[in-house]
């Protein structure tokens, strides 16, 4: 429906990267549409800035090309990273309440003795978030059209990252599948704090010194009317986003251990 100029597979690989595997179930249709729109907008902005730079500011052709490419790339990278971190945030929020979902499912299981019925109860009051509501609705649908229960549970347990949650979900039919303790959560929190501390030092060093020093030096070396000056913030946009993304990837790996 949404026409993408760049092949969608390639677009998703660039923008989503590692989180395609990491939080597959949390990438909603809406996010994908946003990415396609962003990509199309970036291409549109490339042509618009070509026109602007060439006819309005009257740069020469090479400069026009370089500036337009930088503008569209920066626009695309910064905003697609915004979408990406939204997905990561959803994943994190889900991880935090996963134990409650499993616990209520297991209580429901206990009282109803039927998997589809207990998932229905889970969805009943609209207390679950929209993005995993759909996930469980699909599960009920599959169960209702006669899919094998054990197989469905096995397949859907992929959504839980924490191994303990995963096993608990897999043994839902077992009456003891209740999560009583959660020591992983504490260790993960500690790890997260350490990562934030590490990353902050790196990022502050890169982010605060680089733009200041380079823009000062550049403005002394380069004429204030030269379009090279325009290139710098755009490169900074791409570079800064890439650094943040690297840091995010690193912290995701940390969580998987």
């Amino acid at each position: 429906m949404h026409f993408s100029i760049v092949p969608k597979e390639f677009l998703h690989r660039i923008t989503l990267g590692k989180i395609r595997k990491h939080s597959e179930d949390f990438i909603s249709e809406n996010d994908l549409v946003k990415l396609v729109v962003l990509c199309n907008l970036a291409i549109l902005s490339f042509f618009v800035s070509m026109l602007l730079c060439y006819f309005l500011i009257q740069l020469n052709l090479i400069y026009t090309l370089i500036v337009s490419i930088a503008i569209s790339l920066a626009l695309f990278f910064v905003f697609s990273d915004y979408v990406r971190s939204g997905i990561i945030k959803k994943r994190r929020l889900f991880d935090e309440v996963a134990f409650l979902i499993i616990n209520s499912l297991s209580i429901n299981m206990k009282s109803t003795q039927s998997l589809p019925r207990s998932i229905e109860l889970l969805l009943k009051k609209g207390t679950v978030d929209n993005f995993y509501k759909k996930y469980f609705e699909d599960m009920i649908f599959n169960l209702n059209i006669g899919a094998d229960e054990n197989q469905t549970i096995d397949e859907n347990s992929k959504m839980f990252h924490n191994k303990k949650h995963k096993y608990a979900f897999q043994s839902l039919k077992n009456p003891d599948s209740f999560i009583e303790t959660d020591p992983d959560f504490l260790t993960r929190l500690k790890k997260e704090i350490k990562l934030i501390e590490d990353n902050m030092v790196i990022f502050v060093a890169i982010s605060c010194l680089l733009p200041l020093v380079l823009s000062l030096v550049l403005s002394l070396i380069v004429s204030p009317t030269s379009p090279t000056l325009l290139l710098f913030p755009l490169l900074y946009a791409v570079f800064g986003t890439a650094t943040l993304r690297l840091i995010q990837n690193k912290s995701m790996e940390g969580k998987n251990v």
Binding site: S118, L121, F178, E180, L189, P211, S219, L220, P224, L229
Partner: protein, 207 residues
């Protein structure tokens, strides 16, 4: 939506305690201190208990699901499960609080860095007309005292973009909420600082 004055695990534990004493779920609500009176009234009027729970604003709305099927199941085991879930939530909340305390220090540092860089970059952008004269001094060897004050030069535009981006990254690093709103504030602040500095600068040059 009603907000409770205590945290979720206390609600869960209280309900479990009351049910242990032999009360049912509805009656248990009446024994909880500080439970919103309007909701109690609604229970008295015969509204379904799950409706009552969904009009509570909870930190973990998922605990409502725990109650949905509680009425049908074996009570004793249910109470045990409520209690252990309450304990889990309590431990989590304690851990999260500890983390937030630690992060608060970092967040404050980040905020200071953010403001300092915001003001520095904006002030440099305000003084940017000087750079063109320095540039002409370096390239031609003469320093002219005529300054052109324009906000829409390439240089000041790039400073504006850098300032917004830098703040956006720092906000993202410290996991702040409402990032876009704060970036817009930075945008406005930047322009104000640039205008003030340029005004000050141009009045200084006249003398």
């Amino acid at each position: 939506m009603y907000k409770l004055s205590f945290s979720d695990h206390i609600l869960l534990r209280e309900i479990a305690n009351q049910m242990e004493k032999g009360e049912n779920l509805e009656r248990a609500m009446f024994f909880i201190e500080d439970f919103p009176r309007e909701l109690l009234l609604r229970i008295q009027l015969g509204e379904e208990i799950t409706e009552i729970f969904s009009s509570l604003k909870l930190d973990y709305p998922e605990i409502i699901n725990l109650f949905v099927s509680a009425l049908q199941a074996d009570t004793q085991q249910m109470i045990q499960r409520f209690k252990s879930t309450a304990k889990l939530i309590r431990m989590r909340e304690e851990a999260l609080e500890e983390r937030n305390d630690l992060l608060k220090v970092h967040k404050r540092r980040m905020r200071i860095i953010r403001y300092v860089t915001l003001i520095t970059i904006a002030m440099i952008a305000g003084f940017s007309p000087l750079f063109s004269n320095f540039y002409s001094l370096i390239s031609n060897g003469d320093f002219s005292f005529s300054f052109s004050f324009t906000i829409w030069s390439f240089l000041s535009l790039s400073f504006l973009v850098i300032n917004c981006l830098n703040n956006y990254y720092l906000l993202k690093m410290s996991n702040e909420k409402r990032i876009l709103f704060k970036v817009v504030i930075v945008f406005i602040l930047h322009i104000i600082i640039v205008l003030v500095v340029q005004n000050f600068f141009s009045s200084l040059i006249r003398f």
